[in-house]
Amino acid sequence: MRKTLWFVSILVAVSLILAACGGSAPTSNGGGETVTVVETVIVEVTSSAPVVVAPTGFGVTLETVKARGNLICGVNSQVPGFGYVDADGNFSGFDVDYCRALAAAIFGDASLVEFRPVTAAERFTALQSGEIDILSRNTTWSLVRDTELAGNFVHTTFYDGQGMMVPADSGITSLADLSGGTICVQTGTTTELNLADVMAAEGISYTPAVFEDADSTFAAYAENRCDAVTTDKSGLVSRRTVLADPSAHVILDITMSKEPLGPMVRHGDDQWFDIAQWTVFAMFAAEEFGITSANVDNIKSSATAPEVLRLLGNEGDMGLKLGLDNNWAYNIIKLVGNYAEVYDRNLGPDTPTYIPRGLNSLYTDGGLLYAPPVR
């Protein structure tokens, strides 16, 4: 009986303490006049029941990344040319190189990136929960994602459109030929919604076969589960290279939607957004000024054009304004390269995943890439 009494009194005491701090926890941000005893209890509770909350607020992300010593980047691991794990376990691709550029801008070392493969379905939750610092995973910019998914699209790094791939011997040349057919598509993508939209608009009936990730979508297509497979054209080009016989499949000459792809950050940290955005612009600008990883040292020591000097950190304090080292853009170009270099390395004519630059050329070449002035 004595034991029970002790047990009960301890329970009551614990619950009272918890209740006390429960009352003060939400208001503790405002009032600094709480009694010391209560404050120590708050610390105990937060440490005993940790719930991960994404770092938000101006400057918090950069601070977290610097304190951690590396950048955690959410990437694709299944689309060659954009985000892919090669046989040696190394990540490569266009979106992956963007992460390296961002790390170069922050740390002056492009290798300080931890790549975390995320599926289309889990990517936004991973970003919201703070599991990743930035999402660079061929993600389409759309209104809902900008608002309800609490993200900010940094900038379009790749202008894409949705396409359709069919077996070459199927004789299918247009969407109408697919009437009554089955189409493989990946869940949680804008592609899935566009497909429903376009087919409804054209009045074509079809059956979707929807899969969890790119690998299972294309595995099912390869097994002839569907008459066609749809995703972004870049995705089709890149996935075709890993099919058993790439020449047995054709990509139809139809563009079903606009797919502006780019990196995405969380709401709430404008500094982080600026850093991510200017990393993109630095790569555009470098191409425009003809600065490459090979000649950047030469140019840095001999340049006279003020804008080039500002970009490379010889003049002014552009990097400091972003909260970075003044050599931020120099590091990006030196360690990763300008936009054209990154593009050619992953999607250029010498790669199996060749995609003509098209809209993804500088505005001076009739494309859409245009960097605001560095000043």
Binding site: A49, V51, A120, Q128, L193, A200, P208, A220, R225, R266
Partner: protein, 393 residues
Amino acid sequence: MQESLKQKRITAFWRDERILNILGQVAFILILLFIASLIFQNMRDGLARQGIILSYSFLSGISGFDISESLIEYSRTSSYWQAYQVGLLNTLSVSIVGVIASTIFGVILGVARLSTNFLINRLAAFYLELIRNLSLLVFLIFWYLGVFLKLPRVRDAVVWPGDIFLTNRGVGIPWGLPTDSYPTFRLILLIGIVLSFIVFFALRAYSNRTGQAPLTTLWTLLTFIITAIIGWLVLPERPLTFDIPAVEGLNISGGKVLSPEFMALTSGLVLYTSAFIGEVVRSGILSVSKGQVEASHALGLNSFQTLRLIVFPQALRVIIPPLTSQYLNLIKNSSLAIAVGYPDVFYISNTIQNQTGRAVEMISMVMLTYLIFSLITSLFMNWYNQRIKLVER
């Protein structure tokens, strides 16, 4: 009376064990509730900081995506809630088909495992050991990628007797289409059910009066089947016409086409769960002591009667509780549908979560859904268990 009670109390309430016990439990629940609310509060604050507010109102929005198979009317303009219902019904259909088929198959396996025939016994043992030691996910992917997607293309469809079309777009089976006389036929079926009930109660009354044990279940079923057959033959027009599947263009038309995803999921779940049910059945039958069988033979009952009247009723008491948990496993395991692309409730909720970003809401809905499914199943099984269990005096 009240007065005397009050005076009798000599121990103070904080020394009264009964009160302390209750107090302890109340305090424990309070702490539990408090911790739960703390966690919930923390999550809500964290979400609010990112401008996300918990709400289920998004469910009435337009879903915008298509679903491959649905038992109800659904299109891209339907709401998220309707999409969720589609998933709910798909989960239910897989669960119901799965539970029935795996019970039948499991009982056969369990009995085969106890067979005195060496070959049957060894084969059943090999099967049980093989299947029970596989991972279900691997098993499902094997059935999907290794079996159903490896079937020939539609234009080279394999046709099994009974007009069953096997293709990698699905398995086409003949399917009854109701004709004008179908409503009348339904009425006849209803009469059949009433008749079989009458037979059931009459036979039970007879058994209670005379102490004989007639084959109640068999006669009840036969009554229903005979009524149905008579109805089928008597009606001027057949109540159902059989729609035979045929190859047409890219697809199979007519009949009922079961998608490879559905086939892979149900066959995987059924074969997997039936291996466990087989073991449950075997343990149930073995739990009936040999003396019972010998006594029954001594009383002059034959082998079939012994099995039906002595062994099986006693085995059932041992079988039901673990069988319940196998049913629950099957229902919960059906969420692995996502691996083979079958649109069950978990799959659909994943899609909704993706398109809306409402992770907390969708996960909580799915958890609640599976909880309700499982609770209903166990309530029913507990009720059945209560009914058949040994009455102790």
